[in-house]
């Protein structure tokens, strides 16, 4: 009896490992995705160790060095109160990446859970969860975010809460769609016949087979979240100054766009590059994980 139960289990593991190795090999051949991955790793590193990368406090005003052009001491110049732009970009990266990872991780876990439950159980459970998703879809995401933020007190927590609320329905719908396909497969029926509990089937059998599109969406979603956070801060309704945020720096910098374009240029470039990197990485992952490309 034990041998019968173990055999398919070992098989699945072998297959899974092969799939990921395959995907990794395909990823490494995609130059844009590799460069993007390296850039993002560097960005995460610089954000985590910002104190060691730059000697300047991002919030320390220096009235002897107002709106300086990029030079040797301040490699990206200083802003209207003499704060070092490079330091503010690094500490801003900390905010952006933290918000991006926390929101997207929470939204993904919530979305996967609700999507799995809705897809696996069906019936009333499915109906309730999916109608909630429909209602969330009735409002364009950024519109909903602007609305939510206007009601909450402006803070990083409000932004995280709002963007998580906006993010989960997409993942839930994606997961549910995948589960509906997987549910009919023989291996699920086999697991059911062997008497496995629903949560066990969902977590160890269905979920691993639905992961590829979710991983892709997770990566692309981080970019969307960072963009939304920057957008809210840009409009002045997200994270408030003096906390350094890329969106906030770009807004403030626009006041000096005629005389000191570097104030708006550098944060824009870094934000743009980050977005592009996440998108190229997500695209690379999609190509690497999508079985249809594997011809």
């Amino acid at each position: 009896m034990t041998t019968v139960a173990q055999l398919p289990h070992v098989d699945v593991q072998h297959q899974t490992r092969g799939l990921w190795q395959d995907a990794l090999r395909r990823m490494s051949r995609n130059r844009a995705a590799v460069v993007s991955g390296v850039f993002l790793l560097l960005l995460v590193f610089a954000a985590v160790f910002a104190e060691f990368v730059t000697p300047f406090d991002p919030n320390a005003a220096d009235f002897a060095a107002l709106r300086q052009a990029p030079g040797l001491t301040h490699i990206m110049g200083t802003d209207e109160v003499g704060r070092d732009v490079f330091s503010r970009i690094l500490y801003g990266a900390r905010i952006s990446l933290t918000v991006g990872f926390i929101v997207q991780t929470t939204a993904t876990v919530a979305g996967i859970t609700l999507g799995l439950v809705a897809g696996y159980y069906g019936g009333t459970t499915d109906l309730i969860i999916m109608r909630a998703v429909d209602i969330m879809y009735a409002l364009p995401a950024f519109l909903f975010a602007v609305f939510m933020v206007s009601i909450l007190t402006p803070s990083i927590n409000s932004v995280i809460l709002t963007l998580t609320l906006v993010g989960w329905p997409f993942i839930a719908r994606l997961t549910r769609g995948q589960v509906l396909v997987q549910k009919e497969q023989e291996y699920v029926i086999a697991a059911q016949a062997l008497g496995a509990r629903p949560w066990r089937i969902m977590l160890f059998h269905v979920l691993p087979n639905t992961l590829s599109p979710i991983i892709v969406q997770y990566t692309l979603g981080i970019a969307t979240v960072i963009m939304a956070e920057a957008g809210l801060s840009f409009l002045g309704i997200g994270i408030r100054p003096p906390t350094p945020t890329w969106g906030g720096m770009i807004t403030k910098g626009r006041d000096f766009i005629r005389t000191e374009p570097h104030l708006v240029l550098y944060p824009s470039i870094v934000l743009g590059l980050t977005m592009i990197a996440f998108n190229f990485l997500g695209d690379g992952l999609r190509d690497a994980l999508d079985p249809r490309v594997r011809k």
Partner: protein, 309 residues
């Protein structure tokens, strides 16, 4: 078809009521008593406050208040602004909606036309530098946030080359940069989809048959290919309209265009809840009506949808 139509409309109404109820309840739970806000700085007697509450139905439970609100909205009355005392929300939003509709429809139509052009060229020249280049640029277009793109455009075309005005809403020249800013993302997205669906269509049997008949390549691509490539594009039009509507917050603020987006952002900064709620409901309704139209077009263009449903 009529069953399909009925189900779609019922679904849209359900979503709209659900979303507006949530928005309404949330704005009522927001900090700040509406009546106090309406009274402003004036010292109003407590009895008057109570009388106002009864008059505006604010003494009722939120679901009842919501029903009142829906009744008023259906008559075109979105209440009055907290910021500009006594000013109907509709007077603030109404003209702004027209402005937004006008300039954003240019961006949408332009984006779709150019996207079809780019996507088809990329598909026909599959795996050449034209294809790779176009798709590389498209991924850039998808990635860049509106306000980063707008900043670069202003730096180059307004401040550098001095070809176009920096901001405002007076002449057609004022609309060039905002339209480009808003159009780039949907254009990039659609061109990728057009390319993908063209590539799928290009090797179908009916395309080969057409070629064997001696139909010219141009006619094959535009007549047979394009028509079938349109369906997948239709599915994302709803999403794109949603993004464009939400994008009006940022782009209208940057370019100082007096549309719904700018009115909305100003209202958020002033905590003017009736205006925020009105703008949200109008944008959500516009979005859902588009979704409905897309659904119906889908039913018309693809007979299979009607049968399955």
């Amino acid at each position: 078809m009529s069953g399909y139509l009925f189900r779609r409309i019922a679904f849209i109404l359900f979503s709209l009521l659900g979303a507006t109820f949530l928005a309404f309840a949330a704005s009522r739970l927001a900090p700040g008593d509406p009546v106090r806000l309406m009274a402003g700085e004036q010292n109003v007697a407590p009895e008057v406050i109570e009388a106002w509450k009864v008059r505006y139905g604010l003494d009722q439970p939120i679901p009842v208040q919501y029903l009142y609100y829906v009744r008023n909205v259906l008559q075109g009355d979105f209440g009055t602004s907290y910021q500009y005392i006594g000013m109907p929300v509709m007077d603030l939003i109404g003209p702004a909606v027209l402005v937004t509709l006008r300039w954003e429809s240019i961006a949408l139509v332009g984006a779709i036309i150019i996207a079809f052009f780019l996507g088809m060229i990329a598909a026909v020249r599959h795996n050449t530098w034209v294809d790779t280049g176009a798709m590389f640029i498209a991924l850039f277009g998808i990635s860049l946030p509106d306000f980063v793109l707008a900043t670069f455009l202003v730096l180059i075309f307004s401040l550098g080359l001095k070809w176009l005005p920096v901001a405002g809403y007076e002449t057609p020249a004022h609309l060039v940069l905002p339209v480009i800013t808003l159009a780039v993302h949907p254009c990039a997205l659609i061109s990728r989809i057009v390319r993908a669906s063209m590539l799928e269509v290009i090797n179908q049997d009916y395309m080969r048959t057409a070629r064997a008949k001696g139909v010219s390549e141009r006619v094959i691509i535009t007549k047979h290919g394009l028509r079938n490539a349109m369906l997948p594009v239709l599915t994302v039009v709803g999403v794109i309209v949603g993004r464009i509507l939400a994008g009006s917050f940022i782009v209208e603020t940057i370019f100082n265009i007096p549309g719904v987006g700018r009115v909305g952002v100003t209202a958020v900064l002033q905590r003017d809840y009736p205006v925020i709620l009105g703008a949200t409901i109008i944008l959500a309704t516009a979005f859902l009506i588009t979704t409905l139209i897309v659904d119906l077009l889908y039913g018309v263009l693809d007979p299979r949808v009607r049968v399955i449903d």
